[in-house]
Amino acid sequence: MSPKSLSGSRNIRAFTLGLPLGWLILLAFLPCLIVLAISLVEARIGTPPYEPLFTKGSGLLPRINATADNYIRLVTDPLYLDAFLSSIRIAAISSLLTLLLAYPMAYAIARAKKTTRALLLMLVILPFWTSFLIRVYAWTGLLNSNGLINNALVKLGLIAEPLPLLHTDFAVHLGIVYSYLPFMVLPIYAVLEQLDWTLIEAAEDLGASPLKAFWRITLPLSLPGIVAGLLLVFIPAVGEFIIPDLLGGPDTLMVGHLLWTEFFNNHDWPMASALAIALLVLVLTPAMIVYHLRRRGEAAS
């Protein structure tokens, strides 16, 4: 290869690495810094609706108007703590329910014939062809007091009065499980598809019943897929806004929704920003823990 084309390939590499990096810095990292800055100042009436972080000070150095008030409110006002705990609880329960539903699905797909496998995977991905918002909204039509489910149950004579399904925590859980199911199915499928099934035969040969073989071999070996799936569902579910907004009731308390209220109803941008930063820290923590565990696992092996 001539030196010219070598430097050409180096340019291509710089371009292919630089483009996403530039994208991330410009559209993810800088906005985060802006949110962080806003979360450190006080709200005011005006445009923009917050005090500037830096003002002209005496001498050359600018004056910093930082305050921890928003964060102090975050931990002292029980509303915010409740919202966080409730979000974590809803996201955790929904993630586990998604796992219980997704694991058998992924297992069945991985053990299906090669030709049917592609079709089944297609069916898992198919809902993505419709807008997320519309799919969640469609559930209101199903869960309504004169929606499809209630009407059918009343007509069948199973219930006299329509069940309160919509605008409940139940509907929120249902919405999350429904919306994020593919994110759990796909990573678990990816692991199971790579699994050497003779390991299961070996376990059975050594005296393990199919159930024990699953528990001792298949499940531990599919753990990476389970962890990836749980993260992929839990992280967006914790900050979910659309699902609690459309399906949740007046008692449903979730951080994403509270953040929206602070921002649009109360015009308290700094408080909304503080919530956003706290949410970011919350979702990054499990991801970082998993990342470090995996790094340590790789270093050990």
Binding site: E201, A203, E204, D205
Partner: protein, 380 residues
């Protein structure tokens, strides 16, 4: 190719072992996959303490037969008895049989020690007993120092030993081995062959091994079943199969064979005369099966049984030909001799035999001869 010359690693089966009631008895077993028979009406008895080999080309059904014994497949028809007990339909995890897989199938998330302990843990043995037996099994294979390692930290040979230890620690009645040495390189494989034979004698467990390698089967087995298209073609000791094959297929599978097609012209008690246009002569050979005059048969002679000389020899069978190629392999000389009819005969000589034949050069005319007792009539 020269398995017959190498020292067999096995001691001959103890007398009386064959007459005792069989440890494994397969009774007309059949198994089909998508309509295609993989194992077709196979009946087979294996005695206690045997080192039994199933050989055949890929797709001959040997692995399916092994998996039927393990219980990893269930037969469509037929019965399987172990120690006189009918275990047909019993799942793999409830059979007194353990298998060593071709890929070893070591559990990647468990240490060597936990891999070996797996089967005993499933039996719910006391912890102290498990520890003791696992240590003994690892000691047997000099693997005690590697107990804490994970499978991916082991070499191929070490993995093979762990797989063996894991299967043997349960003290099964039968150890099934599916191509146990296929993943090892040639040098390691030859050592592992003798180790396996010695191991079987030491632990006293019946081994049933699948291999596609006829030489490996002959070195290791006390008895061999040759399989083809889901059926057993012939069962016997390695020397039975080599010296008295019943079919052209068996003759060809175990070592090199020169075959002459022809028709039976005369029959005596132990011999037959076969007129062969390929040989351009009437050949005399030993025959075991019942023949009729005019029956189409083949005469087989092994390359090392043919004598080569410059002059005509007084012998049961004598043919004339021309040397068409010489290959010096060090311990042997391979001569390719073209007969007048065009057929090529392979002859294997020791260097001494070659020298005493007058060291015929390429293109020289020679006489080939062999006694009727070293040739065989094959009907199948």
């Amino acid at each position: 190719m020269d398995a017959h010359q190498d020292r067999s690693l096995t001691a001959p089966s103890p007398p009386g072992a064959q007459s005792a009631s069989p440890l494994i008895s397969l009774d007309r077993m059949s198994k089909r996959f998508a309509g295609t028979p993989a194992v077709d009406d196979v009946s087979l008895d294996i005695a206690r303490g045997e080192f039994f080999c199933l050989v055949g080309a890929s797709g001959s059904g040997k692995t399916t037969l092994l998996r039927l014994i393990a219980g990893l497949e269930q037969p469509d028809a037929g019965r399987i008895l172990i120690d006189g007990e009918d275990i047909t339909g019993r799942p793999a995890y409830r059979r007194p049989v353990n298998m060593m897989f071709q890929s070893y199938a070591l559990f990647p998330h468990l240490s060597v020690e936990r891999n070996v302990a797996f089967g005993l843990e499933e039996e719910h043995r006391p912890k102290a007993e498990i520890r003791e037996r696992v240590r003994a099994a690892l000691d047997l294979f000099d693997m005690a120092g590697l107990a804490a390692r994970k499978p991916h930290q082991l070499s191929g040979g070490q993995r093979q030993r762990v797989a063996l230890a894991r299967a043997l620690v349960k003290e099964p009645k039968i150890l099934l081995l599916d191509e146990p040495l296929a993943a090892l390189d040639k040098k390691l494989r030859e050592r592992a062959q003798s180790e396996l034979v010695a191991l079987r004698a030491r632990v006293g467990i019946t081994f049933v091994m699948v291999t596609h390698d006829q030489e490996e089967a002959m070195r290791m087995a006390s008895r061999i079943a040759l399989m083809r298209d889901g059926k057993i073609v012939q069962i016997g000791s390695p020397s039975d199969l080599y010296d008295t094959p019943r079919s052209r297929f068996a003759a060809d599978f175990f070592g090199a064979a020169n075959l002459f097609e022809g028709r039976v012209t005369a029959i005596s008690e132990t011999e037959a005369s076969v007129e062969s246009t390929e040989a351009g002569a009437t050949l005399r050979a030993r025959s075991a099966s019942s023949l009729t005059i005019g029956m189409p048969v083949a005469v087989m002679i092994r390359p090392e049984q043919v004598r080569v000389s410059r002059e005509t020899q007084q012998a049961d069978n004598a043919l004339r030909g021309q040397i068409r190629g010489l290959v010096f392999l060090g311990s042997t000389v391979l001569c390719h001799v073209g007969l007048d009819g065009g057929k090529i005969i392979v002859v294997r000589l020791s260097p001494t035999e070659y020298a005493s034949a007058g060291a015929p050069a390429d293109g020289e005319s020679v006489y080939l001869s062999w006694p009727a007792s070293s040739a065989r009539v094959l009907t199948e």
